[in-house]
Symmetry: C2
Subunit: 329 residues, 2 copies
DNA sequence: TCGCTTCTTGAAAGCGCTTTCAGATAGCCA
DNA sequence: TGGCTATCTGAAAGCGCTTTCAAGAAGCGA
């Protein structure tokens, strides 16, 4: 307790507080006495008392759909870097792609005490933003763009459309999609919409039997492609919601005797660690996770500290060309 | 503020507190009035004030070497499940395989306020446990066993030795190791020690040129195997520190014209998602991450709540046999 | 109806910091 | 030396909850 330090240093708790928080205007001898006393006692301030007194929790919350997902982990990690530099702690929670759960977790964080909140995407429970507003803390959304709320992300529809255009430029006309679950997921939904629009713009369409929605993971990708084949003649190219899905689809395609990219071009999403090492190396849409995390962190810190901040930061995703895509035979 | 709720419901803050914390002994009509008032006002208790008053933070810290590492993420995720069920928040920090950094992050958590702490491994900064003791909170170590401190984990030396014995049973005599960095990492070190001991027990030795230490990742595995080949004739089997390393080594082996498992048997660690999908499917040592996370969570919650708890919980790793291992030619 | 026990309830005292405010001390110039 | 300003410092008042303690209300048996 600060009390003990004060007694040992022969000063008041006010002075202890001033020294430990680096305020100027404490005479050198007292300052040193306090430092030494704190050191001797192994004094560690009580965060709750400090938070109560300053009305600052020095913590920032983040609610992501799945903390086991590589894409979110990477963003959280770089987000945390920035928070840590500014002296803030990250408290992360899992929403599991469910709006009710997201609301529950966010409320939990709000109650626990955070000075800012990071969310993923632009689709949330109708009550969520009211609660955040009541808590009076800044929020930033990531992974997609929003016209209503501050965000750091990219245009999911446009980046997926770019992939579709690239495939069409190669000469593909039958293009399929295997996405993860799209319910309450604006990223997944926007990507499919973007692809469909790009196809439509060139007079093509996304056939329903080539539009597959599955659960994430390698197994999901395998099942998805199997399902696509069951729907009729296969497309000559597919765009997958994650690299894991792409990997699974490639395994299934190979098992069916299709060669990649000869019979089937494949594009993934996220540029996972393993993407360049697949056989063939996977063409994928790289999300600049580190930049998104940093920008989201900087954004929130700035607003917590009362500095002005741009509402929308666009960090474009990038199409990384590798050997899994080629013109159709 | 509870004050506002009290005024609106026509009771005192003491009653508000009693109702909101589910204490019995409040008359039904007042209870309902409080509930309604809290609802109407969208009341969210101030966590700092509550923590200060109860001397409970309702938060648990975890310091792991790398929050981007799949193995740790899985454990953290199941650890969080349990904490969440008990009403606790997880606050995770990154130590980056450096004891000074680990100490710094742990201190940060202690200062911030946590009721318990999870650590990875049994090697820490000499000051760390003194600080934890001063904070008076329980700690649990994971991923390895310890005779000094409460832990939930497995015998890294024994599980790696089991893999080595399996390879020797298949007839391998020249066995290599590619591990991640071992500095300040008792898991990595113990595994190599275990393998060396298993070999010695059968009159074999781990040749220095077959004992490679590299940084984690697929690229690391590739470099590691390249390095091993540069040291002389290759072993007929290798045990890798992670599945990523194994994947990288397999790529390099294939590039050098070695067939797997014909010319080279490969064993990984962790049973990553992609392990069963590699070509050939990877034999690996599966760590029961979910069980470890749950056990660590249960352990800490119990001790926080003053219930007795066993000091050591062993959750054995398991050798998963797949097609990447076979007798040598 | 009275006295005693059992329920309910609110006043008030913390929890351990930060921060304001005013007083004490020191420094400086005339 | 006196008076004024610039520095330092500590007392004390919160911050918003929880929890104790004592008192009032209600219920019960005689």
């Amino acid at each position: 307790m600060a009390r003990d330090v004060a007694r040992r240093a022969g000063v008041s708790t006010a002075t202890v507080s001033r020294v430990l928080n680096g305020f100027a205007g404490v005479r050198a001898d007292k300052r040193e006495a306090v430092m030494r006393a704190a050191q001797d006692l192994g004094f560690v301030a009580n965060g709750a008392a400090r938070a109560l007194s300053t009305r600052r929790f020095m913590a920032v919350g983040a609610v992501v759909p799945n903390i086991e997902n590589e894409a979110f982990v990477r963003v959280l990690s770089s987000f945390q870097d920035r928070l840590r530099q500014a002296g803030y702690t990250l408290v992360a929670a899992n929403a599991g792609y469910d709006l009710e759960d997201e609301l529950r977790e966010a409320t939990f964080l709000l109650e626990r005490g955070v000075d800012g909140l990071m969310l993923v995407g632009d689709i949330h429970h109708p009550d969520l933003h009211a609660r955040i507003a009541r808590a009076g803390i800044p929020v930033v959304q990531t992974f997609s763009l929003s016209r209503e709320r501050p965000c750091v992300g990219f245009d999911n529809a446009a980046s997926a459309a770019r992939a579709a255009n690239y495939l069409m430029d190669l000469g593909h006309r039958r293009i399929g999609v295997i996405s993860g679950l799209r319910k309450d997921n604006d990223r997944g939904g926007a990507r499919v919409t973007g692809i469909a629009a790009a196809l439509a713009a060139r007079g093509l369409r996304l056939a329903p039997e080539h539009d597959i929605e599955i659960s994430y993971g390698i197994g999901g990708g395998r099942d998805g492609f199997r399902q696509m084949l069951a729907g009729g003649p296969p497309p000559t190219a597919i765009i997958c919601g994650t690299d894991q899905i792409a990997f699974g689809a490639m395994i299934e395609a190979r098992a069916r005797g299709l060669s990649i990219p000869g019979d089937l071009s494949v594009i993934g999403h996220n540029d996972s660690d393993f993407a360049p090492f697949l056989d063939p190396p996977l063409t994928t849409i790289r999300i600049h996770s580190v930049e998104i995390g940093h920008a989201a962190g900087d954004h929130l810190i700035a607003r917590i500290q009362g500095r002005p901040m741009v509402r929308l930061t666009e960090i474009d995703a990038e199409l990384i060309l590798r050997a899994s895509t080629a013109p159709p035979r």
